[in-house]
Amino acid sequence: MSLEVQIHQRLGSAALDVAFDAPPGITVLFGRSGAGKTSVINAVAGLSRIDEGRIAIEGEVLEDSATGVWLPPHKRGLGYIFQEARLFPHLTVRQNLRYGRWFSRRGPQEAQVVEMLGIGPLLGRRPGALSGGERQRVAIGRALMAGPKLLLADEPLASLDDPRKAEIFPYFEALRDEMAVPVLYVSHAASEVARLATTVVVIEDGRVLRQGPAAEVLADPGVTPVGVRAAGAVLEARLVAQHADGLSELEANGLRLLLPRVDRAEGAAMRVRIEAQDVMLSLEEPQGISALNCWPAVVREVRVGSGPGALVQLDAGGNQVLARVTRRSVQALDLRAGMAIWAVLKAVSVARM
């Protein structure tokens, strides 16, 4: 599957002018609120018309202003998971799940969807009796059951608290890995992007600022759509050993990382996230400090912002890492591209098992 999107649209005083391709996997439209992400996803769903542009899936044109083609939403064969679940209140969970089946013969087995989402005990209930997390799981199931060519998800976790988010994440990963349904996912949360994205499309003020594989885009110091505080790189790593003192040893491009115990077998691949604010820089190899993870690196780029801070992009043995430091430190250490340096990683979290 690949989705091609080109949209030129005036929205009141703002303009939306985006073009991107979404390869298989989860493509995250990443940007702050009001950047135009939801307008893009609604146009793809056919819930709003575009002034000019073209939307196609695998060559099947859904909308093309040049030829006047416009498929109404019910003929597009896409699934949409809304922020507020939008379950039909007068139907039971089972009837909600089967709703899309009235109109479509394709789609996965109900038993498979119910099993994957763990919603078996809820089937006879009505949406009013469900918790927020349960509702969102049913909404995912309902969209899946219609057998969509592509799933659209508009900040599906935004209205949930952290424990509920943690409850839903694995299901999106299962979508990506088990169901092989491509997903276009709107988010303004860097942690969601780090965990879910195969591809990231960064949208700012109605334009595509950058698009590419997650590890590349998130390590770009020039791309901080939701602010430098949320900046952070992701690395693909592999678990190499479990230590007796409760630490797990990971390896990323030949460099070693020690993390509090990760419950996976040796050899397991995972994605780790290193937030820019958790990275310190040192001109010499740090000695006598408590941090376990210190990597030699080369400065690739120093990007000084308008405030007192700066983002420094580092290359540590092929791992792209971001560090957030002050402008004063940039001057004091005389940081510039090409110089060798040590990165002290204060915290590393597993973004995705």
């Binding site: 769903a45 056919g46 109404p72 019910h74 949409y80 039909f88 209140p89 219609a146």
Partner: protein, 230 residues
Amino acid sequence: MGGLSAEAWGAVALSLKVAFWATLFALPLAVFVAHVLARRQFWGREILNGLVHLPLILPPVVTGYLLLLGFGTQGPIGAALARVGIVFAFSWTGAALAAGVMAFPLMVRAIRLSLEAVDPGLEAAAATLGASRIWVFASVTLPLILPGVIAGTILAFAKAMGEFGATITFVSNIPGETQTLPLAVHELLQVPGGEQAAMGLAMISVCIALGALLVSEWVSRRVAARVAGR
């Protein structure tokens, strides 16, 4: 009650018949108009809204007179319909038309209010799941507005039962043909010694109205609980 004349009972039966047909014909049109007013933006929306509400504000006698002008045997619409065998003038069907027109705004208002309470997001969700417009309406919108539709229908039925001014102006007061319950009460009060029979009809009227209200309350409470997802 056994003291009521056959003629009085005839008026009760006629009123029920008139109100039934008036409500039945008004209902689908009211749902359609309410949907248009609540969901579509178009030029002339306010004019349509005004037209729908006119019978509520105009003196009923004026509404009856306008009906007479339009649907009477000499009226443009009445003459055209007469050629295909549909006659409203001085017939019970005319009473039903007058009752339907007078009850229409109440029905539209009740249905429109419940439509405005339905989240359009649910309709959009249904569309993304493959439902065409008609299916969205039948499977999502209609079940969700059912309490309002029921309330509006009962209200309209009660209004149609009690319609007086437009009816008497449009189709006159012909016993057995257009003399509905309120018209019969009116006539009984014009003749000496008619008070007792009038009282009997008034009691029947109160019973029908109360019964209708109770049934509508009960039904719409049950439906509301169902559609609220409880």
